[in-house]
């Protein structure tokens, strides 16, 4: 038991913060978010060169073989910088799901940065069914809010097959699949709608016929990663606010000297620190759980971290706008980028009420046998 970063983890954190701060901060986000693609492929290749795409890929498949604490560290830093990139979809979703399944395919290509990827499973809204046809499969259905769904090279899609959840891989464009990027208020993300109309896939497209348990594990781990993103972004909101209010003078005093401002900043600090504790607690549980452990502890920790940090991020971004005063709701200042991102993240992978209800069930509120005692 030691709930502090190791030396190696601190090195990863420093390197990420340094690179992101130099190349991939809000100014970069502004540049790419106005484009249809939504990210800068050249800069992304630098991130690949830093080894980020291989972070959780086993060393045998060309990755670094690290765990979910390290993933949380990177996600936190990317949240702080608000770096729009394929990282979340490719690593926190796709590579995460493939490692949970112990899959052989694609992880090497992902680690090498040859392909970007995404996962369209319980994280998306809608349903897809798979029907065995001619030694292959036919997919039909509609999924909305698939992260990077229109731009990822590889789409891992969950579909109901014989009453179980199967996972299929679709490389690039195929007949019958319409991928439509959605225009969104938060411009740093690129969700898409995927319409499957008789999409014919070869047998080899099937990654796993019974992927339900592994996908549930992967989605909980992805929720932890998003919680970490929220921590970094929320802390950035706090920092921007402290800096701004220290420099801004009203009524003859720095705004930061007013107790109402200080106390709101203190509440932000509390939100940030408790969220950080929540996110890394859950990341440690994910590491302890492994790919085959009992997922209950992780489910509790992931739902706890996602609901807590998601709300904390929104509250911090909202307070940041309020304490910036008039400039806080201008396009020119960066606060709104975080505010919109915070709102979007609250809904991704289940909102707070969803996760709290899940926790309520898991801690036994429906266990009436016990209640009858």
């Amino acid at each position: 038991m030691n709930f502090a970063f190791t030396e190696d983890q601190l090195l990863i954190q420093d390197a990420a913060r340094g690179w992101l701060g130099e190349f991939a901060g809000p100014a970069h986000a502004r540049k790419v978010m106005a484009t249809k693609e939504g990210y800068d492929p050249a800069l992304w290749q630098q991130a690949v060169a830093l080894g980020w795409t291989g972070l959780i890929v086993p060393e045998t498949q060309g990755g670094l073989g690290l765990g979910f604490v390290e993933l949380a560290i990177l996600m936190e830093e990317m949240g702080r910088a608000l770096y729009p990139s394929p990282f979340e979809a490719t690593v926190a979703l796709a590579a995460n799901a493939l490692t949970a399944l112990g899959a052989e395919r694609y992880l090497e290509a992902i680690a090498a940065g040859d392909i970007t990827a995404t996962l369209a499973a319980g994280n998306a809204i809608g349903e897809v069914t798979a029907t065995p046809v001619d030694g292959g499969y036919r997919l039909d259905g509609l999924l909305r809010h698939v992260p990077d769904g229109a731009r990822a090279d590889l789409v891992l899609v969950a579909a109901t097959l014989d009453g179980r959840t199967a996972l299929f891989a679709i490389e690039g464009e195929v007949a019958g699949l319409t991928r439509t990027g959605l225009a969104t208020m938060d411009q740093t993300r690129r969700p898409a709608e995927l319409r499957f109309e008789g999409v014919a896939l070869p047998a080899a497209a099937l990654i796993a016929a019974d992927a339900g348990r592994a996908l549930a594990l992967a989605l909980d781990r992805a929720a932890v990663a998003l919680a970490a993103h929220a921590v970094g972004a929320a802390e950035k909101c706090l920092e921007m606010t402290v800096d701004y209010t220290k420099g801004r003078v009203q009524f003859g005093r720095p705004v930061a000297s007013f107790q109402a401002v200080k106390h709101q900043c203190a509440d932000m600090a509390l939100a940030v620190e408790t969220s950080r504790s929540a996110a890394y607690w859950a990341a440690c549980v994910a590491d302890d759980c492994g790919h085959n452990g009992d997922g209950t502890a992780l489910a509790l920790a992931a739902s706890g971290a996602k609901s807590w940090a998601g709300r904390a991020y929104f509250d911090c971004a909202a307070t940041a706008i309020q304490l910036h005063g008039g400039v806080g709701f201008t396009w020119e200042y960066d606060v709104h980028l975080y505010f919109k991102n915070a709102r979007a993240l609250e809904a991704v992978l289940g909102d707070g009420a969803h996760h709290r209800e899940r926790v309520a069930h898991l801690i036994g509120l429906d266990d009436l046998a016990e209640a009858a005692q």
Partner: protein, 395 residues
Amino acid sequence: MKLSFSAEDEAFRAEISGWMADHLTGPFARLKNRGGPGDEHAFFEERRAWERHMGKAGWIGVGWPTSAGGRGAPLSHQVIFYEEYARAGGPGRVGHIGEGLAGPTIVAFGSEDQKRRFLPGILSGDDLWCQGYSEPNAGSDLANVRTRARLVGDRWVIDGQKVWTSLAHVSDWCFVIARTEDGSSGHRGLSYLLVPMNQKGITVRPIQQMTGTSEFNEVFFDGAETAAENIVGKPGEGWKVAMGTLAFERGASTLGQQMAFRNQLDEIIAIAKANGRAKDPVMRQRLAEAWIGLQIMRANALRMLSQAGNPELPREAYVSKLYWATWHRDLGKLAMDVLGPEADVFPGEPGTYELTALQQLFLFTRSDTIYAGTNEIQRNIIAERALGMPREARA
């Protein structure tokens, strides 16, 4: 104490609602529910025509005294007018700053000449006004105003900058608080000037909001001029006159604003029923809370307006800005939560930015708790003026 309306009130209600039903049609039909906060640019010229149309029918200045050209309507009629206007989807009024602030100020503090000169243009819907109060380093605090005006011959010459000025780019006139006594500070030495906007000494620069649109402006005064007689009250009385203007912000038009809120809440409830969130017990609590909160907002406003004869500002008036701003901001968040994952999406291509009405509501309501006195300033005012607690120390 009675909340219900008389038969005579109801007859007036029938008159205005009938007029709206008859006139918000044809070329004006598409203006329904458009032009509110965050949507000020929508159909601007058409709304300007609508303002003139209302002026012709005598619906501008309903609450103004008859001596000033208004209808001199009693409180109950004013409430009914604003509520029925909004209920019918009447568009955001381009003349509301003139009708609600500049006009009443001139009625209360202006000279007879000024009344003759300025009121008819407001009542006809021809002249649009904007408000020159906030400054970049003064925030909501008029005592920090730095914009200066000097009397040079028969003209005031004005230098300085105002900010968060709605409608500045389309207004004919601006009422400006400027410092007219050299070396004065705080509330002293300020004057209330009426300044024509269409002159080369004035530059208007739009501020892009986080909605992507520009509802507010910076206004630069660089040797701008106005005639010596265009001062309301005496030189140095600007604070007193400005405080009067602020009091007019608490007029019956607030009921119209609330009816617009009601339309927004109704839309959110309809979505919740359509997408199933209305069945979620947690969401039901929030929707009910919002509904209750809006009813209370109306009751609070009616209480405040029923005390209009009271020389002392009642406490329900002190809390009203903080209350409605926070309620409305929370409504924006509620709208997003009811929409769920779809909340983020608008029609169009990624990279474009044309928000839906509810997205605009969500983003734009963040300004409600900031402009016209932030929530923090409002709490100071309540504590100090309504509760008599000690004033904030100035460093």
